[in-house]
Amino acid sequence: MSVLTGKERRIVGFLCNWCSYGGADTAGVGRFVQPTDLRIIRVPCSGRINPLFIVKALLGGADGVLVSGCHPRDCHYAEGNFYARRRLEMCKNLLPLVGIDPKRFEYTWVSASEGQRWQHVVTEFTKQIHALPPAPVFPESPEIERLAACAGE
């Protein structure tokens, strides 16, 4: 159990290396103060994110998942975020089916120069998660995971 029970929520971020991770760095360089709940996992492209990661995180006890990539048309890998957008939207629609409040998951686009925007995104999402009850405990369910994997195709 985390030392900060009651103070923080568990928020997992998946950020693409080229834009959003850079944007989060820019926010840091600019000393744009943010809530401390978010933990960032770096991936090369938002297109690398399998909805399974999101669902696994939410089923595993995360209170919220935030995904951020390059703005559409501005993807470092040309078109990765187009696929990402479709998948992430599917994933959002899927969450209620497995009993997860879709407000626990958001995706957004932040470029490497948008430090201030990143601060805003993190602050707002953290608020949104704090307004929800703590994450429910889910039983292990291979079915649900299989369903999540389908969203990737």
């Binding site: 401390t36 006890g61 501005d74 890998y77 696929y83 120069s113």
Partner: protein, 652 residues
């Protein structure tokens, strides 16, 4: 595995709001961690030596450094562990500076977060595999986009180093804005005398191929092996036949065409050579004024051209070239100042832009070097300059300083006095920014030697009075309202990224800021590189800068391109996709999504399977997220690795 963990203080950057020593202590409890310590500056020489020593003393085969962003120092630490004999991919970083210490003030929360970031780094590292790069040949040719002074410098430096250059320029001639300038600060030497010879060098250099009136259509491929499609726009003139004699322009009946080169000062003919020193010196038809196109009949130029170079049917041409590196030097454009209705919004003929004024002063300009008013052709006596028009103005979304306007305004005031000795110049300014070598002395000369009156304050209104203009503003130093009668008003219009820059950036897959300027890889340490390997920046495309800085950046970009292509083989990043042939069912989904066509279908004992072409894969991982079988995995970012990170977070 035997993992060593190093928690950096980064002086007080991290140490002030994260308990680095405590995090190191806690890290010792993590699986496979056999050594953990904190260190003052891990990236410094003693810091790196500490890592190397620990690797040998504790027989480490994996290292985690919790410090600044991996975008900053991952390469540094990878080299360090490699020096100690550990594969550079058996290394992970936790970003506890940009993502922790700099954005949170609560030390307890920060330290807890830092520890969790270390925990996920350890869990990822436990699943890392040593990776080794492959080597591939590159095309020793550079594409320079934009033929302003920055692009010209980059092209000449590359070409002189023996590397072939292809230059693509959108306008009919290279030279950019500098070709339009009369004289240049701080030496007041003639712009075309210093730029002209360089333009000629571009035309004559055996290693440079120039495509004017051309733009980038598309880019594919990757560092060392880009494939670029260039669109050569139809100019209705066959460049192989045109000798630049200018007879067509002499006879063209459409004499009221907009003169782009002269910024609309004066007019030109529908077919024209933009200026006498143009490179290439070839005629171009402006279809929006050519009678053959507007009215459907004319054909005069085709009749008079001695070489038969005119072809009204000419179509755009697409051309494919292979290059190893690219330099983006697309410069800037002026902000649309007509949004300022208080300055007349374009209604007053004698309120002109600074660039128009350069053309009005230039000896090779439409007035032959005799400054006169656009309204009545009279020589102006009172000239008012207004600085920061469209710069440092949040209300129109241009909060930044355009950098060189203070300087060129001082230059233009000096030149005005040189042209018209009995004239008086006034400059309305916000601040004088002149931090270059000899620059402050220059602005002082404008005031002290040339009697230019500098008034610190903004102009609130310009309105006509008789055939003159009243410029009403405030003198903040005197604390009074002032009105100056002007014959001519020159607006030091601010700078924005060249039209369509974001569009070009998307083609090049580089980032741009919210103003459209291209983004460098690191503000301080990688000002020339972009986040796309093999694409470099020069000149104002990255942000406003004067000629000396643009030239320096052009040379720097060339040095980067030459450095890259001087190697016979380029190293490929081994963080690429791999197909597990046993799991692959040959559905081909990965083949369809791969943006680089890096996956092909192969026949494996009579069954269709996917195979990644190693030199082509760029490691985006799109295929990985798509494969229904989990058969294709992105090395270093496999499903297992990412899920291990997720699980590590959810467990704590």
């Amino acid at each position: 595995m035997r993992i060593g963990v190093f928690i950096c203080h980064c002086g007080t950057n991290i140490g002030a709001t994260v308990d680095s020593a405590g995090v190191a202590e806690n890290a010792k409890s993590l699986p496979d961690v056999v050594f953990a310590t904190d260190s003052m500056y891990t990236c410094s020489e003693p810091g790196q030596d500490g890592i190397i020593r620990a690797i040998s003393e504790h027989a480490l085969d994996g290292v985690v450094v919790a410090a600044c962003s991996p975008r900053m120092h991952e390469p540094t630490f990878r080299r360090a562990v490699e020096r100690a004999g550990v594969n550079r991919y058996m290394f992970e970083m936790a970003n506890i500076r940009e993502h922790v210490s700099w954005i949170g003030k609560d030390k307890e929360a920060n330290s807890n977060k830092a520890f969790e970031l270390v925990r996920i780094a350890v869990e990822k590292l436990r699943r890392n595999r040593p990776l080794t790069p492959k080597y591939f040949p590159s095309t020793k040719r550079v594409l320079v986009i934009g033929g302003g002074v920055a692009g010209i410098q980059a092209a000449l430096d590359c070409a002189d180093a023996g590397i072939e250059v292809i230059m693509v320029e959108r306008e009919p001639s290279i030279g950019g804005k500098m070709a339009k300038l009369d004289k240049t600060f701080p030496t007041v030497d003639c712009s075309s005398c210093i730029l002209g010879p360089k333009m000629v060098d571009v035309a004559q250099h055996p290693k440079i191929t120039l495509y004017a009136c051309s733009e980038l259509e598309s880019v594919s491929g990757f560092v060392g092996n880009f494939e670029v499609v260039i669109r050569r726009k139809a100019t209705c003139v066959d460049n192989t036949k045109c000798t630049g004699c200018g007879l067509c322009a002499e006879k063209c009946p459409s004499k009221k065409s907009f003169d782009r080169f002269n910024e609309g000062v004066g007019t030109t003919t529908a077919i024209n050579i933009p200026f006498p020193q143009a490179i290439p010196k070839k005629a171009v038809i402006d279809k929006s004024f050519c009678r053959q196109f507007v009215k459907g009949k004319c054909g005069v130029c085709a009749k008079v051209c001695p070489t038969g170079a005119i072809s009204y049917e000419q179509q755009d041409e697409l051309l494919t070239v292979q290059v190893g590196a690219m330099v983006a030097a697309t410069g800037y454009d002026l902000v649309d100042w007509k949004v300022y209705s208080e300055y007349g919004g374009g209604r007053y003929p004698d309120v002109v832009t600074s660039l128009q004024y350069e053309r009005m002063m230039s000896a090779s300009g439409p007035f032959g070097g005799h400054i006169k008013r656009l309204s009545d052709g009279k020589e102006p006596k009172n000239v008012v300059f207004i600085q920061c028009v469209g710069s440092r103005d949040v209300s129109i979304g241009r909060p930044y300083c355009s950098g060189f306007c203070c300087m060129y305004t001082a230059k233009q005031a000096i030149l005005t006095k040189d042209h018209i000795p009995d004239s008086q110049s006034y400059v309305f300014y916000m601040d004088i920014r002149s931090p270059g070598k000899g620059y402050d002395e220059f602005t002082r000369r404008a005031q002290e030697e040339y009697g230019t009156q500098y008034i610190r304050g903004r102009v609130s209104l310009i309105y006509p009075k008789g055939d003159r203009y009243i410029v009403r503003g405030v003198d903040t130093l005197a604390g009074a309202q002032v009105e100056v009668e002007a014959d001519l008003v020159v607006l030091a219009v601010g700078v924005e990224a060249a039209a369509n820059s974001p569009h070009l950036a998307e083609k090049l897959r580089i980032s741009y800021d919210k103003f459209g300027f291209f983004m460098e890889s690191h503000v301080k340490l990688k000002p020339i590189e972009t986040n796309t390997a093999g694409v470099f920046l020069a000149g104002c495309s990255q942000g406003p800068k004067d000629i000396p800085s643009s030239v320096a950046m052009g040379s720097a970009a060339a040095a980067k391109a030459i450095g890259l292509l001087s190697k016979d083989m380029l190293e490929s990043d081994p963080q690429i996709a791999q197909v597990n042939i046993n799991r692959c069912v040959g559905c081909g989904k990965c083949i369809n999504v791969c943006p680089y066509k890096a996956i092909r279908e192969i026949d494996f004992r009579g069954q269709a399977k996917a195979e990644v072409i190693e030199a082509v894969c760029q490691g985006c991982g799109l295929c990985n997220a798509t494969c229904p079988q989990g058969a294709v995995q992105l090395s270093h970012f496999t499903d297992n690795q990412i899920l291990a990170e997720v699980e590590a977070l959810c467990r704590c």
